[in-house]
């Protein structure tokens, strides 16, 4: 009997110890899904991609100890506000809507928004072209808002996926007729084996109010200290060539944008 009591006591102590584990690092929230070429887990269980290198560069520059903390994309903002993570590096566009809840650093890259579809079907990335189509988007993204506003009235359905790769997969499976997402991420899918089915139908007409002005690091409101550190770091790696150096290994164009 005593052994059971001891085990229980041990369990209590252990869970208390786990709860009280103190750490001084900055927890960087990643969307817990493959999002090539920016953030994706590899077969070693490590995260790789352009944004991982970006994170390493700014954390080294700002002398922060950054720890990658994967979080579900659709809960990444609540995770930030409830202090599960301290910043978001997840190709998150800076929008008015999000600025009501969280804060952003300066932009660190920019991407156009594209629409892909099967090669066998011809249509444009316009409301007329997408009339009657089933469009796949990832939840809680600017694309969900954009597609709902511009294509929603004419489209057969806007299907919302928890992860981008599942939306892409359903396009390959023929369950959706088109997918709207960041053009750079879509390009990575089109170049993969599974993406052979499909091609870029075009980029959508810009609407900065919804699509935002570039991608920034998501931060909690009021954390001005961290924000200025990150902004200074972005500026520094842009100036000293680090940014261009690692970007060249991924892209043959200027990802920072104008």
């Amino acid at each position: 009997m005593t052994s059971i009591v001891k085990t229980l006591a041990l369990a209590l102590v252990l869970s208390a110890a786990a709860l009280g584990a103190q750490a001084q690092e900055v927890k960087v929230g990643f969307a817990a899904e493959p999002y090539p070429p920016f953030t994706s887990p590899d077969a070693n269980g490590k995260w790789v991609g352009w944004e991982v290198e970006f994170m390493d560069a700014i954390c080294a520059e700002a002398k922060l100890k950054c720890v990658i903390t994967p979080v579900a994309w659709d809960g990444i903002i609540p995770a930030l506000t409830s202090k599960k993570i301290d910043m978001i590096i997840g190709s998150m566009s800076i929008t008015e809507e999000r600025l009501k809840t969280i804060d952003f650093s300066d932009k660190y890259y920019n991407t156009p928004t594209g629409i892909i579809g099967p090669k066998s079907e011809k249509f444009d990335a316009t409301p007329e072209g997408l009339k009657g189509k089933v469009i796949g988007v990832q939840v809680s993204t600017v694309h969900q808002d954009y597609a709902t506003k511009y294509f929603g009235p004419g489209a057969a359905e806007i299907k919302e996926y928890q992860t981008q790769d599942e939306a892409d997969q359903d396009l390959a499976a023929g369950r959706v007729d088109a997918v709207q997402a960041d053009a750079i991420a879509l390009d990575a899918f089109l170049k993969s084996d599974a993406g052979k089915c499909c091609e870029l139908k075009g980029n959508v007409k810009d609407d900065t109010a919804i699509l935002g002005a570039g991608v920034g690091v998501g931060l909690r409101k009021g954390e001005t200290d961290l924000k200025s550190k990150i902004n200074a770091a972005i500026k520094a790696i842009r100036a000293n060539g680090t940014y261009d150096k690692f970007s060249k290994r991924y892209f043959d164009f200027d990802i920072y944008g104008g």
Binding site: P78, Q144, Q169
Partner: protein
């Protein structure tokens, strides 16, 4: 599960208490206060906008629950029966089916069905011209199948126990009366087994209700999916989830009441 073997139980259940005892009144006042605070200090302005969609979501959840539980139960009867009396291979098959379904998480089964089959479809584009495609490309058939199979496996296990639990003597008596095997099954074995399984049915149905929100992860729209939409649109976390918990609480309460009513309608004449 566990009845006292002999002797009086140490625990004497309290007299049925009324709702109006002083400590209950106090507790109710505290809860009312908490709810009032929640109404006053949390954001609920999104409710009117999403009200109709929420109702639609609740309806979808109930439709899904009703049909998966009904068909699942119809499947559970043969699954339970063959394990008790069926030929060896069939009994083994049923046993393996129950073990696999009950031994793995429903979420995984759901993703396997939806995305696993989806990746198979991607390899056979010819499939898209078949007459089945308009159904196969939607999400609900997969959610429906997964929920139905799950219910069949869990309830199949219950039915196995129920069939095995019918006293042999009753079946022998039926045969002695000259009933054929089929008549004895239809008139004695099945009704007695169903009767034994009924009390668990309420519990299994509540468990099934609690499994339905998982289908939202494969793009099926149910009440959980509508609440997720609210969460994304408003960036609120607690308010929508608390409302969702309340909705499920009410649905469970309704289910329990309905089953209690049904059970009271069925005559019990245990020997």
């Amino acid at each position: 599960m566990s009845e006292g073997l002999s002797g009086l139980p140490l625990y004497v259940p309290p007299k049925p208490r009324s709702l109006l005892e002083p400590h209950r009144l106090l507790l109710m006042a505290v809860f009312a206060g908490i709810i009032l605070c929640a109404i006053l200090f949390m954001r609920w302005d999104w409710l009117p906008t999403y009200g109709p969609r929420l109702l639609y979501g609740v309806w979808q959840t109930l439709v899904m629950l009703f049909w998966t539980a009904s068909i699942g139960f119809l499947l559970a009867v043969p699954i339970g029966l063959v394990q008790v009396t069926g030929p060896r291979p069939l009994a083994w098959l049923a046993r393996i089916f129950c073990t696999i379904i009950r031994g793995t998480p429903l979420l995984l089964q759901l993703w396997l069905l939806y995305y696993g089959l989806g990746s198979v479809f991607a390899q056979y584009p010819e499939l898209r011209s078949s007459f089945l495609w308009p159904t196969l490309r939607q999400a609900w058939p997969y959610g429906f199948t997964a929920l139905m199979i799950s219910f069949a496996a869990y309830e199949g296990e219950v039915m196995r126990g129920a069939f095995a639990g019918v006293p042999r003597g009753e079946l022998e008596a039926a045969r002695a009366f000259g009933m054929s095997r089929w008549t004895a099954f239809r008139r004695i074995w099945l009704p007695r087994a169903l009767h034994r399984a009924l009390p668990t049915l309420a519990g299994e149905t509540v468990l099934q209700l609690k499994s339905t929100p998982l289908v939202a992860t494969i793009t099926v729209i149910d009440v959980y999916a509508v609440i997720s939409k609210v969460r994304q649109d408003t960036y609120l976390t607690y308010e929508p989830l608390l409302l969702l918990a309340l909705i499920y609480l009410c649905l469970t309460a309704v289910l329990v009441v309905v089953f209690r009513y049904l059970e009271s309608r069925i005559p019990t004449r245990e020997a």
